[in-house]
Symmetry: C2
Subunit: 371 residues, 2 copies
C-alpha cells in the first residue's frame, strides 16, 4: 500500500467526520437556547464525564486518544454556549469603561533605591515623574491604594528565576491592573571610586549579580562579597577605595563612581521584566499583551481544555506558569500571558466565556510591552 | 425543544463520529507501516497545516474549534505512529540501564552554609553524609562532575518565586539527573545571643526572610537590615548581642544562639523545594514524579497538542513553566513535572514518542517526593 492511497482514505473519513462535528456544534447552540430559557448552568461535569467514559470504553485501544479528542470537542461546545449566553458581562463592562491612559503619572512608587534597575525603568517610561523608593511589595501596593502614588513600577520576572507570585497575589488582593510592561537587559558595570583596577581589594554586589558576572570576576582574582542590593554595593564602593561594585551604570553615576568596565555579565541573555501597576484599569488602544490568572477544575486534561480554547481563537501564549495553591494538594494557580487586544471580538469572547466558566479567573490587564 | 431531545441527537452524532475516529486511527497505523518500510519521518508539518487549513475553511463559523479538534486528532495519530515505529530507543535504553539507587552517598555538595535550609535537607535525607558547602550552582555541578561529591542538594523553586532556570540549564549541560526531591516548609526563628528580647537593637536576615516575617517584625519596632543569607545573619548575631537574626532553628543552634520565638513567618504557606542531583540516572522502584524540559515547534496550539498527549495517557501535570529562550522571540523552553513511573508502559511510550518528536526534549529524572 502507498502513502497516497492511505491519505485518500483519511481524506474520505474527514469528509464524513467534519459534517458530524458541525452538526454537534449546532446542537450546542440549541442547548444554549434551552439553557437560556430554563436558566440551567452551561457546565455539567457529570454528563461530560459520563460521555467521556462511554466514548473511552467504546474506543478500545484508542480509549485515551478518544477521551482527549472528545474533551476538546466538549470544551469547544461549552465555549460556544457561554458566548451565546452573553457570558462575562461584569468583565465586559469593566473593559468598556477603561480609559486609554492613567489620569495622573506624576508620583510613582518603585522598588529599590536611587540608581536601581527599577529606577531606570521609571526614568525611561515616565521621565517627568518623581519616584519614591520602597523595599517591600506590600508597601508599594499600600502606597498606590492610598493615592500617595499614581502608579508603581515593580520587577516581576527575570530570566534566571520565575515570576514573583507575591506580586500576582497582591494584584488580585487589591484588584489592581497591569497597564504597561518593560523588559530590561541586565548590563552590569564594574565601578570604583578611583577608576583604577589596581586599587580593587574586594568586589561587592548582590549575590545574583556576582553570579551573573562570575566569569569576568574570577579573572580579577580578588575576594567577592555579598551585599543587599547592587545600589547598596555602589554606596559601599563610594566610601571605600578598595571596594569595587558590580552595579548598573545609573547606580555608579548616582554614587559618583568611575566605571572600569561595562557589560561584565557572563551572557547578554539575562533580562528582568518590570510592570507598571495602577489602581484603575487602563487599556491603551495599541495594547498587545494580556495577563491572566486562573485555576481549573481538578480533572485530567482540564488545563489542556482551557489552553485549547486559546489555540482555537488563534492566540499565542507567551508565558505559562503554574503555582501550587497553599494548603491544597494538586490544585494550582496558572499565570498566563498571551498576545492580543480586548477590542478584538474573538479575544473578548474568549475572556468572557472563561470568566464565567472557571472557578477563579482574574483579568490582570491588556497593555503594551514598551520598547 | 427539551434538553433530553437534543442530548439524544448528540448521542446519535457521537455514535457515527466515534467509528470514523477509530477508522482514522487505523489509518495512522497503516501510515506507520509504510513509513517504516520507506524510512519516511512521522511528522509532516506541510501536510498537517494543509489539512488544518482546509478543515478550518470548511467548518465556517466553527473554523477555530474545528482546527483545534483536528490538531488534537492529528497529534494522537502521530503519537500512535511514533509508538509503532519504536520511538525513543535511546531513552528506553538509558531508563532500562538505570539502577534503583546511587552507588555512593557519602559526600554531598550543598548550597549555603552550616545550618542553611539546604544543610537541613542533607541531614534529613542522608544523615550519614559529609556535606560540603558552596555558594554557586556552577561550582556544585563541577564538584559532582569531577567526582568530589557523589550527589548534590540544591533549592530549585520556592512558593514566592518560580523555578531556578539556571539549575535546569546546568542539568541539561552536564546531563545530570534529579534522583529525589524534598519540599521544606519555611520555619523562621527569631534568635539572639542573650535570649532576651530587650537586648534587640536590630534584626538581620536575608531580604526575602525579612519579608516573609514582616508582620511579626513590625511589632518589634526595631530597624531591620539585610544580610547575604540567613546563616550569615546568625553568625552576625553570635558576635553582637544587640543583633537578632531571622534564621532556621539549625542555623541558630549552629551559631550558639538562643531561640526567642519560633515560626515567626507571616503564613505557613511558604515552602522551598530542593532536589538531589546525580551524575548517573537512578530510578527508585517507587518513583512517582517525572521532570521534563522541552520546546515545541512554533505554531499556534503546539503546546496544547503536547499537553493533550499527557491528558490522553491519563497523566496529571503538577507543574508547568515556560521560559523564553535567549535571543529567540516567541520561542520557549517548558519545564514540566507530572506524576508517573517510567515502568508503566503508557508513561514510557509517551516519553519515547515525545523524545523522537520534539526538537529538544530532556528527560530529567523519575524520583520520589520525600516526606
Amino acid at each position: 500500500m502507498e502513502l497516497s492511497e492511505i491519505r485518500k482514505e483519511i481524506d474520505a473519513i474527514d469528509a464524513q467526520l467534519l459534517p458530524l462535528f458541525i452538526r454537534r456544534m449546532d446542537c450546542a447552540k440549541k442547548v444554549a437556547e434551552v439553557k437560556r430559557r430554563d436558566g440551567t448552568p452551561v457546565f455539567n461535569l457529570e454528563r461530560e464525564q459520563e460521555i467521556l467514559n462511554r466514548i473511552a470504553a467504546q474506543a478500545g485501544e484508542y480509549g485515551g486518544a478518544a477521551r482527549i479528542v472528545y474533551n476538546t470537542i466538549m470544551s469547544e461546545s461549552r465555549a460556544l454556549q457561554h458566548t451565546l449566553l452573553g457570558a462575562g458581562s461584569r468583565l465586559r463592562t469593566r473593559i468598556a469603561a477603561a480609559p486609554e491612559a492613567p489620569r495622573r503619572t506624576a508620583a510613582i512608587a518603585c522598588l529599590g533605591g536611587k540608581g536601581s534597575y527599577s529606577h531606570d525603568v521609571v526614568s525611561q517610561l515616565y521621565p517627568q515623574a518623581v519616584p519614591s523608593f520602597f523595599s517591600r511589595f506590600g508597601d508599594i501596593f499600600r502606597c498606590v491604594e492610598q493615592g500617595e502614588a499614581d502608579l508603581a513600577v515593580i520587577p516581576v520576572e527575570n530570566s534566571s528565576a520565575g515570576s514573583v507570585s507575591e506580586v500576582y497575589g497582591l494584584l488580585m488582593q487589591y484588584c489592581f491592573s497591569i497597564i504597561a510592561a518593560k523588559t530590561l537587559g541586565v548590563h552590569h558595570c564594574l565601578a570604583n571610586r578611583t577608576g583604577k583596577f589596581e586599587d580593587i581589594r574586594c568586589v561587592r554586589s548582590k549575590d545574583i549579580a556576582l553570579m551573573q558576572c562570575s566569569q569576568r570576576l574570577a579573572a580579577l582574582q580578588v575576594p567577592l562579597s555579598d551585599s543587599s542590593s547592587t545600589s547598596a554595593a555602589a554606596e559601599l564602593a563610594a566610601r571605600d577605595a578598595g571596594v569595587a561594585a558590580v552595579c548598573s551604570e545609573s547606580a555608579a553615576k548616582a554614587h559618583g563612581l568611575h566605571i572600569l568596565e561595562r557589560d561584565i555579565q557572563n551572557t547578554d541573555n539575562n533580562a528582568t521584566r518590570f510592570v507598571v501597576i495602577s489602581k484603575e484599569l487602563c487599556i491603551p488602544r495599541t495594547a498587545e499583551k494580556i495577563s491572566l490568572c486562573f485555576n481549573v477544575p481538578h480533572t485530567t486534561g482540564s488545563l489542556n481544555a482551557v489552553l485549547s480554547r486559546f489555540a482555537a481563537a488563534g492566540m499565542n501564549l507567551t508565558k505559562i506558569e503554574s503555582r501550587p495553591i497553599a494548603g491544597k494538594t494538586f490544585e494550582y494557580d496558572f499565570y498566563l500571558d498571551f498576545t492580543g487586544n480586548v477590542h478584538d471580538p474573538k479575544v473578548l469572547e474568549l475572556l468572557c466565556s472563561l470568566e464565567d466558566e472557571l472557578p477563579r479567573f482574574h483579568f490582570l490587564g491588556n497593555y503594551c510591552e514598551c520598547k
